[in-house]
Symmetry: C2
């Protein structure tokens, strides 16, 4: 069953479904490294326990853990969460895990992108490179080995032929220096099964992923996008969001539709405290965390579980308003907040920690496009 | 889902089904340690590849591999075999894996026995101790933590209320020194869901497991047992088999039936060659392999896959006759031979390397006993 296929998803009739479609489950990884997570990762582990517990109310959750911490994770995680031994370099399952695909017959396969730790930001990354394959083995899914460096947080899809990305990330010279925009687009179309790629410019300020889309904007449903926003003109986020808004309003999706954009006010800006910075053990080869640096905080970084939106709680002053706004964007879903500052301190958030496995379906239909190119 | 339960299988209505009942799949582990496997385990790995390939013709196979050898095992194993990262001390999944149970509603659970490396024969065994739990996690099965040291190769069941064991192994003072026969029997009944335990005496000579039943005898079906045999009175196996035969003929199973015994002539006797012994790297804490020592060779150590018997090929002089005999014992099954001398050199054989997962069933019926005690 878990073969590596020489073809591409698009030629085989596979595409990435939208995150809002039904899931069979969710994969996560256990935070461990003390050079990224303060206090030997214990506060982040507690946050992950709360996140896994929240998601597992709606769908099965599996957490990958290194052999060394297997017993510890098993003891801390709720009994209903499955634990799998899986070495990794850090816990960002969105970025190192596989991108799951489906076809019209309801079969599932996965894309295993090349991974270089967001352009070489953390060393080493050899175990992270193996995670996607290991997850696909355990899920019994055939694998496409994509020939480009990419991360799951670097793209969103509407499940109907359209992908959303940023130039800052996808054209970053530390990822695929020999490919231009057209070359990247060709690979995205082939491996996500989309026909249109909508390019935004920069991601949110001080995002060490070089501007992952999953902190900036996402599809609510085909034809509708949520965009992180601030009205404060002095904040660098303002120009980023304005540029993104203008590109989104100019864009057409795979069906030729214009997009409706919903602004989602950002928290903060939030910064790393001296106490928080002091809890991280610096190490050569790892991006240093410094007191006062801005954190890549965004309410866009939520996860769509079955029937729910699991959203980050980041700032008491703004959490409630953000939750109300998200509730209005997803009227059919429960909105569940999980305190996630400890996750934010490590450079990402709830969407970055998770990877959905689409449900098996008898038949799947991809709305709105004639063909994948 | 993967909870650890405070009760026992018998009180919850669970029992171990017979190996001949339908399987969902089979688990194995990858041989690695150079202090037990000659030539850095490469010949044994090739034998395991052949075994996994043979079994996967009949049911899905998953092989657990340490993180260090994951890529190597993935490259060598057939694409149809699933690979899971799983640290272990050696590859005897029968002994370190869980014992899967079913109930009348078709649910599955597992027993995680305590493990001490066959009475402390190999050091360390801390990773082996975790294997059963890790398999149960991945299978999503609730777990019973049995409070006695035991190994899956130390018992056979007929799936209808009867277990078969040896005194040499189950009463070995290096396993459960504080328990007598009645105490052991109580735990076997509670955790295997049987009402009758048939005790044989010794296992086959020079079996480092201290006489596992799975090298000596097994149920063909309820009421019928196969027993390894030699007519050579000078061979110590002769007295062992004669004693076993007489005990089997005196026994009654859970339905009160007498047992029919089928003799299965043993191969050899086979011994370790000087060249084979020289390929093993000795290490403190590991049983030393010495040229000329007798190998624990038995045709009883086969595996029942769905619709097949996968049997060890051990000696050209006797393999063909053994295969014919096994074919007559299992008229409805295909008999597939796998060359397994390289596995035998490490102290076990095909049954020792495998662990079946029973199929999910709507309803299961346990034939022939009124109740489990």
């Amino acid at each position: 069953m878990p073969r590596t296929l020489p073809s591409t998803p698009a030629t085989d009739g596979f595409w990435m479904p939208s995150e809002r479609e039904p899931h069979a489950g969710c994969w996560m990884l256990w935070p461990e490294r003390p050079d990224n997570w303060r206090q030997a990762a214990q506060p982040a582990q507690r946050a992950c326990v709360a996140l896994a517990a929240a998601i597992s109310r709606f769908e099965p959750v599996t957490v990958g853990v290194s052999g060394a911490l297997f017993d510890q994770a098993r003891a801390l995680l709720p009994a209903g969460v499955r634990v799998a031994e899986m070495a990794h370099d850090d816990c960002w399952m969105r970025d190192v895990g596989p991108t799951f695909l489906v076809n019209a017959q309801g079969e599932r396969r996965g894309v295993d992108w090349r991974f270089n730790a967001w352009g070489g930001l953390y060393f080493p990354w050899d175990q992270d490179e193996r995670v996607a394959r290991k997850v696909l083995e355990l899920e019994g899914c055939d694998r496409y080995a994509a020939p480009i460096v990419n991360e799951g947080g670097a793209f969103h899809v509407d499940g109907a032929g359209t992908a959303l990305v940023t130039e800052e990330c996808l054209l970053n010279p530390h990822r695929n220096p020999t490919l231009d925009r057209a070359g990247i687009e060709r690979h995205l179309k082939a491996h996500l099964g989309v026909s249109v790629v909508v390019w935004l410019g920069k991601g949110i300020p001080d995002d060490e992923t070089s501007g992952h889309i999953d902190n900036l904007a996402c599809f609510i449903r085909p034809g509708e996008v949520a965009l992180t926003w601030t009205d404060d003109r002095r904040d660098p986020q303002h120009a980023v969001s304005r540029d993104a808004l203008s590109r989104l309003l100019d864009a057409r999706d795979a069906r030729g539709r214009r997009l409706t954009v919903h602004k989602l006010p950002m928290p903060g800006p939030l910064t790393l405290s001296a106490k928080e910075a002091a809890g991280v053990l610096p190490r050569e080869g790892t991006k240093r965390r410094r007191a006062g640096e801005r954190l890549a905080a965004s309410y866009i970084n939520f996860y769509l579980a079955n029937g729910a939106v699991v959203m980050p709680l980041l700032d008491r002053r703004t959490d409630r308003a953000a939750a109300s706004r998200i509730k209005r964007l997803f009227p059919g879903r429960r909105v569940v907040g999980v305190p996630s500052r400890e996750i934010l301190l490590g450079g990402g958030n709830i969407h970055c920690l998770t990877q959905q496995v689409p449900a098996r379906a008898r038949r799947r239909r991809r709305a709105g496009i004639a063909r994948a190119e």
